[in-house]
Symmetry: C2
Subunit: 271 residues, 2 copies
Amino acid sequence: MKFQDKLDKAVQKNNSLLCVGLDIDLSKIPQTILAKEDPIFIFNREIINATKELVCAYKPNMAFYEMHGIYGLSSLIKTIEYIQSTDIPVILDAKRGDIGNSSAAYAKAIFQIFKADAVTVNPYMGYDSIEPFLEYKEKGVFVLGLTSNKGSQDFETADAEKPLYKAVINKVKEWNKNKNCGLVVGATKPEQLKEIRELVPHLPLLIPGIGAQGGNLEASVRYGVDRDGKNAIINSSRGIIYASNQEDFASAAQNAAKELREAINQNRFMK
Amino acid sequence: MKFQDKLDKAVQKNNSLLCVGLDIDLSKIPQTILAKEDPIFIFNREIINATKELVCAYKPNMAFYEMHGIYGLSSLIKTIEYIQSTDIPVILDAKRGDIGNSSAAYAKAIFQIFKADAVTVNPYMGYDSIEPFLEYKEKGVFVLGLTSNKGSQDFETADAEKPLYKAVINKVKEWNKNKNCGLVVGATKPEQLKEIRELVPHLPLLIPGIGAQGGNLEASVRYGVDRDGKNAIINSSRGIIYASNQEDFASAAQNAAKELREAINQNRFMK
């Protein structure tokens, strides 16, 4: 199924724009899980079981799996396989980008080996570094636009008149021939988010930075959604999956997800 | 040993600025190697044995290992371990970059799990996305500056007056507090390479694009080296490792590496 359709279905079925970031951190996982054979997968499976009726997507960040080497990446493959047994799409947050044949290899890795439904990519090297991902017409490709970190000032917004992130957004509009592009826009910048939504009325926006990064939820949702109150994917990672680091971590994650879904929904149709 | 020292030693010992890119492609590996248990590692080992007296660095691109999943990444770990038994530094071409804690996880993966001596990173997200790599003071961090692909026109050079790649280079000069920064500069742009070398007289430049990408070798070397005829790392991948796809692949790679080292050296001290 096309990523956009899978996303729309999950949004509707679960009445949710919440994306849960599966950013694994062994120091925050309960001891009883750590004692098991594949704690990363077991932890993720419990989180997924507890939240799969509450979310529109899952977003594992590859960095947190790569740092555990072969073992972590094996757990990631198992985790995505497990998510694929639900109807929820997986956005693999990989921020890849390279010259053409290398990007083609990354695209193969992300979509055929790790079997994600969508990916995040870095636009620095331009069109031919992203094209191999876009060629997977069924898959979603979220291009970094305006990120939520402090360093976004260095290049993305450095030129106040002609900011780089706007140049990227304009290119993404051109590149969206297969209707499978999205944009990553940090929740820490609600004013710019509003402007960006006006530039791309229909594109799915992946909005990280809620919670640990201190983004403004209310404004992010109001400005991020399209005219139908959809296509904003509001990500929270640590605020959900580490709501408790005790035995009750799964039910705590469920409660945190319920609350955030509700807070998001209160602002979805305020345009 | 600090990356810069390891690089200098290899440059001197092998009288070489040649870097061999270990971009694995199973369709170009001889049948007899493919029949073995770990063909990727075996192929790399043979290439390394044949070229380790001729190069200043090896550069595996992670994409070509990731596309083979767990098996490919295991072969990459074994390959880097094998290179570490020589005195040649390994630049892991990964083009990573993410928000702070994710980049810290990537840095751990690259330097502690894959055990590379240096890495390539993407500057789009700014300083805090690169800082976690720079904190490994012994390691080299090559920031994408001006890349060799067509897409470099989309953003890197889009603004003729204030090109993005120059903004990146100026920031890299500021960020180089641990003296472990380098830059990636494509060999397809000799004129800009000359300008860049003037901006950063002492930084190591990683120069891909020789051979398959059609870069101008002579100009790249002349403009790329520092005043001592060093600190330009001239990468060739397919032109060396797939010089033959028959049984003689290792000796063909050795001959190709000898020729290219010689061609590079003829232009090293022409300033």
